[in-house]
Subunit: 153 residues, 2 copies
């Protein structure tokens, strides 16, 4: 079995998971700090998904950190399958949530009647959507690395 940078138990994977946790936490923070987000289904969906991505990324960052510190690489096929499946599901959901939020934001900002979205509030929502896209991008790197490792089994 070849070693794949970014796969579970490596330093690159630890950095990617930390990045995912930070970006998804920022997305959740900026979205929930903008009062009234719960009026929009897309924003509620984003908050829900970010609420799932944060513990997932954080747990996997801990596992990676433990693996690096004890110098015991995780080469268990069952664990890798669960990680790949979880990553894939959350990856799809994150992209769907970030895209729908971006679509709604575009409509809110482009509308003639902007009373529903003052510039300051919309700015927070925009930062939240960007952070969700960044989290999704890092998640793609992790998913592909783990998929490569699994397929080389």
């Amino acid at each position: 079995m070849k070693s794949v940078p970014g796969s579970v138990g490596t330093g690159v994977s630890f950095a990617l998971r930390l990045g995912q946790a930070i970006f998804s936490s920022s997305s959740l923070f900026f979205m929930s700090s903008g009062a009234g987000f719960y009026s929009y289904t897309a924003f509620c969906f984003l908050v829900t998904i970010m609420g799932l991505v944060i513990p997932w990324s954080f747990t996997l960052a801990l596992i990676d950190g433990y693996s690096i510190l004890t110098k015991r690489p995780i080469h268990h096929q069952g664990i890798l399958q669960v990680v790949v499946l979880g990553d894939l599901v959350l990856w799809i959901l994150t992209l769907a949530a970030a895209s729908s939020s971006a679509g709604v934001l575009d409509l809110l900002i482009g509308a003639d009647d902007v009373s529903f979205c003052p510039p300051r509030l919309c700015g927070k929502y925009q930062i939240s959507a960007v952070m969700a896209f960044l989290s999704w991008f890092l998640s793609m790197a992790s998913s592909l690395s783990n998929l490569c490792l699994l397929s080389s089994w």
Copy 2:
């Protein structure tokens, strides 16, 4: 190299590609038949992506059909890499377009002022979004099959 059902050059792949072409054409038809879709960025994005998915799926359906009729399986690594890459890019874009359209539709339908989206028009947009999701679902099956075949090389 093992044979994977759904990978390029097989009967299952031909059926999947035809399904993708039909669903994406329906999505494009229902969206463009609803006058005024160009006022919404998410709907324009969906139309653009469906305009890319249709020729891609149709071309691959033709290649699959040719491969089945001549009984010459396509086992060229270069072609498979291009198909996997194209599938992955279009898969991501289709999900993003369908999700953003669904988000915008939810906002339009749920809004108090429904003058921007009469029920008949919104119905067409909804069917278009559903068709795009179905096309994305079939595209996922094709992508995974081809990825499995490529990884078994």
